[in-house]
Amino acid sequence: MPRNNELSEMSQQDSINDFMNMPDDRGHFGPYGGRFISETLMAAIEELTGAYESAMKDPAFLAEFDHDLKHYVGRPSPLYFAKSWTEKLGGAQIYMKREDLNHTGAHKVNNTIGQALLAKRMGKKRVIAETGAGQHGVATATVAARFGMECVVYMGAEDIQRQALNVYRMKLLGAKVVPVESGSATLKDALNEAMRDWVTNVDDTFYIIGTVAGPHPYPAMVRDFQAIIGREAREQIQQQAGRLPDALVACVGGGSNAIGLFYPFLNDAGVKIIGVEAAGDGIETGHHAAPLCAGQPGVLHGNRTYLMEDPNGQIIETHSVSAGLDYPGVGPEHSWLKDVGRAEYVAINDDEALQGFHDVTGIEGILPALESSHALAYVTKLAPTMKKDEIIIVNLSGRGDKDIHTVAARDGIEF
């Protein structure tokens, strides 16, 4: 199996001069990615691949996508210099990419606009989605409402409990939210159930996957729709600071906000790239959601990637205070970036993430999502180790309104 890397990390990184030309035409990022799906879905995946490839070369499609990102989502999102927090930490200058200010409150909508336009182009009248925190479900229900499409969102029964506000938002937007009770009743099981729906309704249904996972072309397609984050940030930092940043930091569940920020910087050798996974109760407890930091390669949900699995290859339950990071896999491009050494992956536990949430809320007046709070918490560790003229860009991937109940409950407050 193409699992053990014969080359050391450094020599691989030195030998690669273009990190932006992945995947290959079969969807492989080195040994990762690919198309591990049942035959029933193969025709639909091939149809989608063809439609996606032709759309990305069609100026009219790209113009409509750009138009919607500007006028409907509100892009470009600001790159905000967090002056107070920078001064407090006393190290590198911290810039926040404000994806929380997008319509629907997170980066997820960049991708759902792209995929819904593709669904429209392919004549599909029904869209389905999986969701963990509910952000992707809301973003899908939003675009479905706008395009007059039927929308079904699969959501783990446990997540429905944790994210009641987003569940109601999806219902208001006209989506049907289907609770998934199988397995661990969280995001991975919602993805299984959405796949089952797709197999059954493959003729008229478009599956809008919310992250850079799934079979090819999803990891590449979702990255391409999210890469607007990094393209804007790259331009904005040069305008504001006159140069590229020294480090990028983003949280990684499936990894779509992270790859969106990272991708346009992959060939900028001076930019350090750091993905932050959820350490849950702590890596050492086993109750976490950090496959890149503490997992093994395997095959799940259509691609080969790092997974949380037991020695028999069964997928194990993950834990994170943040529903959006509570996923046992990760986008295959992240697995490749880890192995070749272009990106580094670290983990932040629940308590640290909560502290990050409180810090940024109190110091900058911005309520970050608990997912994004993992990236922010890592910045509180990283910034003081860097010089004052160095620059960090952190992806503030979503706003925290949806998490108020979770935060309050941990503080012992009931409404």
Binding site: M1, R26, G34, R35, F36, I37, S38, E39, T40, M42, A43, A44, S182, G183, K188, D189, N192, M195, R196, V199, T200, N201, V202, D203, Q296, P297, G298, V299, L300, H301, G302, R304, L307, E309, P311, N312, G313, Q314, I315, I316
Partner: protein
Amino acid sequence: MMSRIETKFMSLREAGRKALIPYVTAGDPVASVTVPLMHDMVKAGADIIELGVPFSDPMADGPVIQKASERALVHNISLHDVFAMVKEFRETDTDTPVVLMGYLNPIEVMGYAKFAELASSAGVDAALTVDLPPEEGSEFVAELARYQMDPIFLIAPTTTDERIEKLCSAASGFVYYVSVKGVTGAATLDTGAVADKMAAIRRHTELPVGVGFGIKDADSARNIGAVADAVVVGSVLVRQADAHQDNPEAVSPAICAILAEIRQALDSL
């Protein structure tokens, strides 16, 4: 030397009979049920046994077989346990082919070479990995071939003619046509559509063709048996393991009663 699967299909063809292939999940509802159940199913008319390897995330399966996996995983049934079951079965049955059916990840984690070696020495004849299409499967197929085991590939209603050709050339033993768009145990069959697709498949292969997903009873088995070489029955059997999970001794008689009816229907063709 002919494989068990080839030998089985040849003798069935000579006798003018259709193959009956029951699916059960290994270790469902408890491990001690499985080997005696395999022997009982052979007595009730099974020609080939498809033994499900439990997986935590069975994406192509409906609720019935999902729950079977969950029941087996309560007892941590692993590939090693499944090999041990096949080995025990082989102590007294050296003729009935056994096909392991499941998902790639347990095999991926074990390693393809080790899987092939251990499966072969246990007496496994073929492997059907639902989420491994031939495009990703060349290394796995090569490892199986070293031990004369067959890779079984699925063909679906949505499979194009071009892909049917590719799948048939990668397959050996038999090919498996998934007769409905959907997960196991879901929709009802359109026999006419199955017949059309069977004709398309047979243009590309001499291999026997089995049909599964959606065969619920003697009638539907008879209809499919009229156009296929083999009929695969799964969810309707596994439902009995669910119904009798608190009384595992009752599982085998319940499954075999259904199998015997289906056997009779197939033999009436």
